[in-house]
């Protein structure tokens, strides 16, 4: 597996982590009633979206540049 492919796998895991962190924040807010966790949830979900956008951009750029190993 090349660095390019491993980087995409890594971004997928990072996105899952951001989504999981967001879900955890929502869960803490719902169960414990701590509104500050909502801000954490919003930040986590925003990070997940940013990672997805970056992942797609990276994949397209690598394809365009034909960096293949």
């Amino acid at each position: 597996m090349s660095l390019k492919a491993f980087h995409i796998v890594f971004i997928i895991f990072s996105t899952l982590l951001a989504l999981g962190t967001g879900a955890w924040c929502v869960w803490v807010d719902l169960v414990e009633g701590a509104p500050i966790y909502l801000a954490g949830a919003i930040a986590s979900f925003a990070a997940a979206i940013a990672l997805i956008i970056y992942g797609v951009w990276f994949y397209r750029k690598m394809k365009r540049l034909r960096i293949i190993t």
């Binding site: 491993f6 982590l17 962190t21 414990e32 990672l51 990276f58 540049l65």
Partner: protein, 285 residues
């Protein structure tokens, strides 16, 4: 004598040698960290009620360190892409950013997070003496709510003599019947001014938040320590590849340096991927 297959691929494997080597090494690393994660999971599942610390790590700081590592993975792959496009100047800057991220991660971990733990004290009370310290534990209310008992009094060790500990209490023990103390706090609360006197004969075991404190902290320091050593190793390799000595390799054969960056980048991604599992396991769950 020239080392073969550092740039061109071997006809039998279809890969250059260093790539085969790094993946064999990473396979052994999977086994190492896999064993440690398995040990952590079994220790946690087998922990007696009330004996597994919750919410003792700083979530915002952990989140920041996670973001720094993710960022460093992005910069290392961009450094490699820059080399592939023969843009050495861009490579140099991306590599510097990667090194900076690694150094910041280590400074935060070793200079801030770990020392906070060394300075924190915890005393597990003997089960038969828990009632004596009810004002710091709030176990009657917890029992009514069906929650696991609180067995430990924590804070800063104010002083001690042959018979007693004096502890500046954490908010969780200073105000144990406050329902907001039943959950971890997003921003950790500072130690209070309230001092509790704990008789040493009532204590089952007492220690700072070190590996000797509990299976939780033993796992925490082992896994994050080993991970930190890997980050340090990666940073040292990156510094070598960032120094002028590597420019000579680039001038001789740019593809050779690109391959070196690729294998070290694969290692770096693996180290960051380990952290992606460490963070939720220790900080969130």
């Amino acid at each position: 004598m020239e080392i073969p297959y550092t740039v061109s691929t071997r006809p039998d494997t279809g890969l250059w040698n260093a790539k085969v080597g790094i993946w064999l090494f990473l396979a052994s690393e999977v086994m190492l960290f896999g064993a440690l994660f398995s040990a952590y999971i079994f220790l946690r599942l087998d922990a007696p009620l009330g004996m597994w610390p919750h919410g003792v790590l700083n979530v915002p700081v952990g989140t920041m360190n996670t973001a720094i590592l993710i960022m460093s993975s992005v910069t290392v792959v961009l450094a490699w892409a820059a080399l592939k496009m023969r843009r050495y100047r861009a490579y140099w800057w991306y590599m510097l950013a990667t090194i900076s991220c690694g150094v910041i991660f280590l400074v935060v971990k070793l200079g801030y997070e770990w020392p906070q733990k060394y300075n924190h004290f915890g005393a597990y009370i003997k089960p038969e003496e828990l009632g004596k310290y009810e004002q710091y534990l709030g176990n009657e209310r917890r029992a009514e709510k069906g929650m696991e008992p609180r067995l430990e009094i924590t804070g800063h060790l104010h002083s001690q003599n042959a018979k007693e500990y004096e502890v500046a209490l954490d908010p969780v023990n200073a105000d144990p019947n406050n329902p907001s103390m039943d959950r971890p706090h997003f921003f950790p609360l500072p130690v209070t001014d309230k001092i509790a006197t704990i008789e040493k004969e009532d204590v089952e075991r007492a220690t700072m938040f070190l590996p000797t404190h509990s299976a939780y902290f033993a796992s925490y320091f082992t896994i994050t320590g080993l991970h930190g050593m890997h980050v340090l190793g990666g940073v040292i390799v990156f510094i070598y590849m960032w120094l002028p000595v590597s420019k000579k390799v680039y001038q001789r054969n740019p593809e050779h340096l690109a391959n070196r960056v690729e294998v070290s980048g694969l290692f770096w991604h693996f180290v960051d991927l380990i952290w992606i599992f460490v963070f939720p396991l220790f900080y969130l769950l």
